[in-house]
Symmetry: none
Subunit: 186 residues, 4 copies
DNA sequence: TATGAATGAGCATTCATTCAT
DNA sequence: GATGAATGAATGCTCATTCAT
C-alpha cells in the first residue's frame, strides 16, 4: 500500500516533469495525470494543488543546482570556472524545463520554494563573491542578477531550440560578466 | 463622430498597452475594456479579436524600433554605438511592455506582424553586419540571436523591476557580444 | 427630404429582401444595412426593430399572394386550376425567400401580419372550398393545412435547390390533395 | 462510478432530446444541463461539443429509421406498404424532434452522421425502387426527394401540433407519390 | 487509496438595439 | 434624418478542483 503510493508519487512527478517541461506552468493537470497513467484525483492526493506539484518539481531541480554549487565550492574549483559550471547547469535545466525557466526567476522568498531559492541564492552569492575577489568577474553584479540574465533566453525562445545555440548564449553572457581586462578563455 | 471614435480608439489602445504590458498576452479583454472605460463591444468594433488588438500594439512598438534603427543607419552612427542604441531601445520597450517581450521573440514570418518582424530582422542584420565588419562584434552572432538574448531577461523578471537594473543587464550582454580584444568603452 | 427618406426606405426594403431571402430570419441587421448602403441607425428609423422590418417584408410578399388569389377568384378560373396557381405562387415565393418560408407557416393571428395572414387564410379557404365543391379536392383538408404542406419543403432543402425540383414537389403535393378518382391532369 | 456516469449520460441524452426536440439545433447547452440536472461541464465530459451531442441524438434517431427499414425489407412486406411504413416512422420522429427535422434534410455525406445518412439513403433507395417496380409509385421520384417532402411539414408547423394532423399530411404526400391509376388504399 | 465524473467560474466573441454627433 | 460607434447580455467551451463510488 505504502509502496503503491510511493510508486504513484514517482510516476506523477516523472510525468509532471515531462509535461511541465514542455508546456510550462500552464500545462493541464489532466495531461499530467494521463502521462502518469493515473487519475487526476491521484495528483491531488499527493499534492494539494497545481502550484504545489509544480513547486515540488522546481524544488527538485533547484536541488540539482544546489548540489553542483556545493560540489564546486567544496572542491575549491577555480572561482570563475566554478561559477561558470553552475550557471551552465542552471541554464541547462531551464533549457530542458520550460516551467523551471518560467518560475524560478520570479520566485519570492516565502514558502518551501522560497527556502530552496534562498539556499541557491546564498550559494550563488558565494560563487559570485569568490569570482569577484579573484578579479575574474565584474564587481557590479550580484546573485540576484543571475536568473534573469541566464534563464530569460529560454523563455524568449521557441520550445525546441538547439542546445548548441543555448550554450552559445550562455557563453556570451558569461563573457559579459567577465571582468574587463581579465580575458582568458572563460 | 469621427472624433469620438478616434478618442475611444485611443483610449482602447492606451488601456490595452497598459493592461497587456502588465499582464502579457493573457490579459483579459474585459479588463482592457474596463481600463479604457468602454464596453467590450467597443474593443471589437476597433479590432476583430484579441490577437489583432495585441498585434496592433506590437506592430506599433516594432515601429519605434524600426525608426531608431533606420535613424542610426541613415546617420552613419559608429557601428557599435548604432547597434547598442537599437538594442537599448528594443529592451526598453520590452521592459515597459511584457506582452511585447512575450510575443516578439516567438514571432513567425506570416501575417502583418511577420512583415514588421522581417523588417526589424533585416535592419538588425545590417547593424550586426556593420559592427562585425568594424571588428567590434564577435563574428558568431546573427540577428536572430538578439531577441532571445535581450528580451529574455524581461520575461525573467518580476513586473516592476527598475530601469537601472535592466540597463545594467543590457550592458552586460552588450559586453558579451563585444569582440574580444576590442575593449574600449561600449 | 421626404424624397430622400422614401428612397432610403426602399433601399432598405430591397436590401432586406435580398438578405433575409438568403439567410432567413437570422440575417444580421448590419448586413442588411451594408447591402442597402445605409447605416444601421437608418434601419431603425424606418422600422422599430428587426421583427418589424421582417414583418413588413413578409406582409409585402403576402400581398402578392393575396393579389393572385383575388385575381383567380375574380376571374372565375376553374377551381382546381385556381387553387393550384395560388399554391404555386405561394411556394415560388417561399422558394425565393427563406425568411418567408420560415415565418409564414408559424404566423399567429395578432399584429399587422396577423391581419395579412387572416386575409390570405380567408382566400385560401374560399379556394379550397370551391375546389372541394367541384369535387376536385379531397374533403379532409382546410386552408390551415396548406402552409405546412407547401412551404415545409423549402425549409427542408439546402439554400440553392433548383426550381424544377421544387415544382416537382409542388406537383406531388397537389396530386396528393386531388380527390381520388378525380384524376385528370392537375 | 461507471453506474453514475452512465446514469448521468442518460440524463444528459434525455434532456438533450427534450431540449433539442423543442428548440431545434439552436437550443442552449446551459438549458440542456439544467434540464438534466447537471453542470455544463458534464455535458462536455460526455460530448466534445454541441455538434457532437446533437449528432449523437440524430444518429440514434436515424438508427430507429434504419431498423424499421431493414425490418420491412427483410420481411418482404408489400413494397408500397413497406415504403409507407418507413416514411411514417421518419416523419413521426421528425414530429417529435424539431432538431432532427432541421438537421436531417440538410445532412452532408461526411462524418459519422454522413455515414448514417448514406445508410438511410441506401435503404430508402431500395424501398423506392421496389415500390416503383411494383408499379405503385410514380417513377419520377428518388430517395433524395423524400426528406424535403416528408420532413418539411414539421419545420413549417408550430411546435405542439397534433399527431393526427401530421399523419394526415403524411397520407396526403403518400397519395401524391402514388402512381396514377394505381389507387387502391395506400 | 485510487478513480474519474461533476462542478462552475471564467473568457472570447457576437449582435440587436441605443444614442451622441 | 442619417451616421456608425457604443452598449452589454448572451453563449459555447475550458480546466482547476472536489467528491461520490
Amino acid at each position: 500500500m505504502r509502496a503503491d503510493a510511493r510508486r504513484n508519487r514517482l510516476k506523477v512527478i516523472g510525468a509532471a516533469q515531462v509535461v511541465f517541461s514542455e508546456h510550462g506552468p500552464d500545462a493541464r493537470m489532466e495531461e499530467v495525470a494521463e502521462k502518469a497513467g493515473v487519475a487526476v484525483g491521484t495528483l491531488y492526493r499527493h499534492f494539494p494543488n497545481k502550484e504545489a506539484l509544480l513547486g515540488a518539481l522546481i524544488a527538485d531541480r533547484l536541488g540539482h543546482v544546489i548540489e553542483v554549487a556545493r560540489d564546486v565550492l567544496d572542491r575549491d574549483v577555480e572561482p570563475w570556472e566554478a561559477f561558470s559550471r553552475v550557471m551552465r547547469r542552471l541554464t541547462g535545466i531551464a533549457h530542458e524545463d520550460r516551467a523551471f525557466a518560467h518560475v524560478v526567476p520570479l520566485l519570492g522568498d516565502e514558502g518551501e520554494l522560497g527556502e530552496a531559492k534562498r539556499t541557491v541564492g546564498g550559494l550563488l552569492e558565494e560563487l559570485v563573491h569568490k569570482a569577484q575577489e579573484a578579479g575574474k568577474m565584474r564587481p557590479d553584479v550580484g546573485a540576484e542578477d543571475l536568473p534573469p540574465l541566464f534563464m530569460g533566453m529560454v523563455l524568449a525562445t521557441p520550445p525546441g531550440f538547439s542546445p548548441a545555440r543555448q550554450e552559445r548564449y550562455v557563453q556570451i553572457i558569461l563573457d559579459g560578466l567577465r571582468h574587463r581586462g581579465a580575458h582568458e578563455p572563460g
